[in-house]
């Protein structure tokens, strides 16, 4: 059962990396969209595309944390003690990201919108970076039960590289999704804009991955070997295939399936990491079996997860379906009958 719950955890992390990652990527492009006038169409598209779904995407993070402390309490304790600073910064980042995004839209003054927007965009960069450093620290075996908090746990070559890779991956996902959204909402002028950026981000991912090969070879020995052989390698290859497929779809301007292949490449990378770490939860000091919480609880966690899949699954499908059909849109000023107030300049 511990194995199953461990995989639930990996799947949840992958889901957060893809769903939350897309939103962080949108924030990344928001940051680089340029001044208020030039970046206006880009930001409008980002607002429009992200608004209905980003909170749901964020819930995956809470689910990851909950499954971790219920299923593997000792791992949870070890990670949160050793990775204190990056996790604290990441969570403050999620607050700023979410609040900045939510408060930007109702703002009707350029100055306020700017502050909220910058907060949202910068936090979208910081948060995935720090989450990435945490994963890198775990993968390189820097966390064991009882490890005190230290800079080395997260400020090491593998961690920094994973952090940058996380940012690049979110930028890639964000650009691919926005490329599709631009078509969905008929923002034709932004199609090539995001197509180019998706390709650039993919290039960044490839470069970082190549840089990572020699760097992590000795630094994260166990995971490196797991990724370069067996099932781990298979997942890496599949992920690469998905990535290349996305590039081909981008080059040939085929929107269909492009989001799926992009998500596939990121999810499979997370999956490959999970496979490479087996049987360890914290390489190479704590296995999944050793880390597992009470058997009775794990069984119930499995049941709760099943019930949730039955309840939440259809709801999620419905949400994304409605969103895809363009049926979801924020209330505008005419809906709530609002008039401009003195000082409004937008």
């Amino acid at each position: 059962m511990a194995e199953v719950v461990a995989w639930v955890l990996v799947v949840a992390i992958a889901a957060y990396a893809c769903a939350g990652g897309t939103d962080y990527g949108a924030g990344f492009w928001d940051l680089l969209a340029g001044g208020a006038e030039r970046g206006k169409p880009v930001r409008r598209l980002i607002d429009h595309a992200m608004a209905p779904v980003w909170e749901v995407n964020n819930v995956w993070l809470i689910f990851v944390v909950v499954v971790m402390w219920t299923g593997f309490p000792t791992v949870f304790q070890a990670v949160f003690e050793a990775m204190w600073l990056p996790l604290a910064l990441a969570v403050v980042g999620t607050v700023l990201r979410g609040a900045g995004f939510a408060l930007r839209k109702p703002a009707r003054r350029l100055a306020r919108r700017r502050i909220a927007g910058v907060t949202f965009a910068v936090a979208s960069l910081i948060t995935p970076f720090f989450f990435g450093t945490v994963l890198g620290g775990i993968a390189s075996g820097r966390v064991a039960v009882g490890t005190p908090a230290s800079a080395d746990a997260w400020a090491n070559p593998t961690s920094l590289l994973t952090g940058l890779l996380a940012v690049a991956a979110t930028a890639f996902l964000g650009a691919v999704f926005l490329w599709c959204d631009a078509r969905r909402f008929g923002a034709d002028d932004l199609l090539d804009y995001f197509r180019l950026r998706a390709l650039l981000a993919f290039g960044a991912v490839v470069v970082l991955a190549l840089v990572g090969l020699p760097v992590t070879r000795d630094d994260a020995r166990y995971v490196w070997e797991g990724l370069s052989g067996g099932l781990g390698l298979a997942a890496v290859i599949l992920s690469a295939v998905c990535g290349v497929a996305t590039v081909l779809l981008l080059v040939r301007r085929i929107h269909r399936w492009s989001r799926w292949t992009a998500v596939g490449s990121v999810a499979l990378t997370v999956g490959a990491w999970g496979l490479a770490q087996r049987p360890y939860m914290l390489p190479t000091s704590l296995t999944v079996t050793e880390a597992a919480g009470a058997a009775h609880t794990l069984r119930w966690l499995g049941i709760v997860t099943l019930v949730a899949i039955v309840l939440v699954g259809p709801a999620l499908v419905l949400l994304f379906r409605l969103d895809n059909l363009g049926d979801l849109e924020g209330l505008g000023d005419t809906d709530t009958r609002a008039a401009p107030a003195p000082g409004d300049d937008l």
């Binding site: 909170e55 219920t70 969570v91 609040a99 969905r184 008929g186 309840l311 949400l319």
Partner: protein, 489 residues
């Protein structure tokens, strides 16, 4: 302040900043919780009324509340995420040892919250393009998801108050975990109902109070009447219910957490014929300074007769009970909560009396002044209720099984203080911006209401940049909306 604890065991220096940080973030988040739990339900009631009676005023209210909810829910989501991280960042000792015993409640909460987030997204963003009744029914399960989420959180908190569902092995580690026992602990039922009713009351009184202010300022139109009546009625109906539920919760604490009860009632020695103190301060030597003493009343309230024996603080060693200062804090929080609750009953009675006599809102301005204050008072009692249960449990994080000082992180106090300062700045900015945004929305709505025909002043492009299904809109936003919500507006 912490003198008794220092005698017991050197409290680690990071304990204070960790507690302050937790208290600050939880105390901030809890102000949004009533709206997360109960505002969707109240909005759905208004929405139903609008659709059923074809009432444009009710629909405008429901839409505007949705617009506020969109921002409020977002801030609630992110501040809630912080709390789940803080359990690991600040109290790793608790999660490491007890995570698998009481974590499942959080598991239920996470999924329920997932469902709530999905449903609220569909509801908040479905106003424009979904068919009116389809839209309503997709939102209808929202209150259930919210109640389920509250179930998970309260299950976890009540377990900390009355932990069970495990045995301890020789080293003191929990074994033989029984999940059902760990979720349905003795304090779960009383805490859950007390909490849920409090959330609905608070949301109702706050929303009603906003329109009471408008009423006092002379805006006595149907919009303000309806905006006041519906949420205020919900809250007023629940006020007497809460009185009974709250009373039985206090008695459950008396039976299940006698030392916490002793702290909230300032009972020093175990005794019968115990007097009740309204406010007052507990001294280190057990005497009580100030306050109003009512003989026998505490025993009567606890067991319905003066001869009821009430456990005192001194029944356990000083190291196992709240300090005098902590007891005083819990006592004041409890008394403020009870006082406000009692005053709200009077307000509800006033409302009922006016309704019975002339089927109308009370005419007195004083009623509306009190109603305007009721929301803030309710938020205060939410804070007080939380302080009572948390401070009253000290020095335990898991009652009688783990001290707060055993659970705290090893991170240096200095780092924690820096983080605390940083978080305060971030929260003040976020909550300030949130409040400003909502006030700004209100101003815009008022301007529109006071100058009929003005909404057209906005460019439709800014309002609705994109059409459905990727078709670029050329004819302006109003046409599309007129088509989908036909007959409604």
């Amino acid at each position: 302040m912490l003198s008794t604890m220092i005698q017991a065991a050197d409290p680690p220096s990071q304990l204070l900043p960790a507690r302050e940080l937790m208290a600050f973030t939880l105390g901030s988040h809890i102000l949004l919780v009533p709206f997360g739990v109960a505002l969707p339900a109240i909005t759905l009631l208004m929405h139903y009324r609008g659709l059923r009676r074809n009432d444009p005023v009710a629909l405008t209210l429901a839409r505007r509340w949705s617009a506020v909810m969109a921002v409020q829910f977002a801030v609630g989501v992110v501040t809630g995420t912080v709390l789940s991280f803080e359990l690991g960042l600040l109290w790793p000792g608790m999660m490491g040892r007890w995570g698998d015993v009481f974590g499942l409640g959080f598991g239920v909460e996470a999924w329920a919250f997932f469902l709530e987030a999905v449903l609220i997204a569909i509801y908040l963003y479905g106003w424009r393009r979904l068919k009116p009744w389809t839209h309503f029914w997709l939102g209808a399960p929202l209150p259930l998801a919210a109640l389920m989420g509250a179930f998970g959180i309260i299950a976890a908190n009540s377990w900390m108050n009355t932990p069970q569902g495990f045995k301890l092995d020789a080293e003191g580690n929990p074994v033989d975990v029984d999940v059902r026992q760990a979720i349905f602990t003795p304090m779960f039922g009383p805490q859950y109902w007390h909490f849920v009713v409090a959330m609905f009351m608070t949301a109702g009184f706050v929303v009603g109070g906003i329109y009471a202010v408008g009423w006092l300022r002379g805006r006595r139109d149907r919009y303000h009447r309806l905006g006041f009546t519906l949420p205020f009625t919900v809250a007023a109906l629940l006020t007497p219910v809460q009185f009974v539920v709250g009373d039985s919760t206090a008695r459950a604490v008396f039976h299940k957490q006698p030392v916490k009860f002793a702290a909230t009632e300032l009972v020093w020695k175990t005794d019968t014929h115990v007097p009740e103190y309204l406010f007052g301060r507990l001294n280190e030597d057990g005497t009580i300074a100030g306050g109003i003493k009512i003989p026998q009343l505490d025993s009567i309230l606890a067991g319905f007769k003066p001869s009821t024996q009430v456990t005192g603080l001194t029944s356990v060693p000083a190291s196992d009970r709240p300090t005098a200062v902590q007891a005083t804090i819990a006592h004041w929080a409890f008394d403020i909560m009870v006082t406000v609750g009692s005053l709200l009953i009077l307000l509800a009675l006033w409302y009922a009396w006016a309704w019975l006599r002339h089927r109308d809102l009370p005419r007195s301005r004083w009623f509306f002044r009190c109603a305007a204050l009721a929301g803030g008072a309710c938020l205060l009692t939410v804070e007080c209720g939380w302080i009572t249960t948390e401070v009253g449990r000290q020095p335990w994080i898991v009652y009688n099984h783990m001290r707060v000082s055993e659970a705290v992180t090893d991170t240096r106090a200095g780092s924690l203080w820096v983080m605390f300062g940083f978080v305060v700045v971030v929260y003040v900015a976020v909550f300030g911006a949130f409040l400003m945004t909502v006030l700004k929305m209100r101003t815009r709505w008022r301007i529109a209401d006071e100058s009929p025909g003005s909404p057209g002043a906005l460019s439709p492009e800014a309002d609705s940049p994109y059409g459905p299904r990727g078709e670029r809109e050329t004819s302006g936003a109003a046409d599309t909306r007129g088509g989908t919500s036909g007959g409604v507006s």
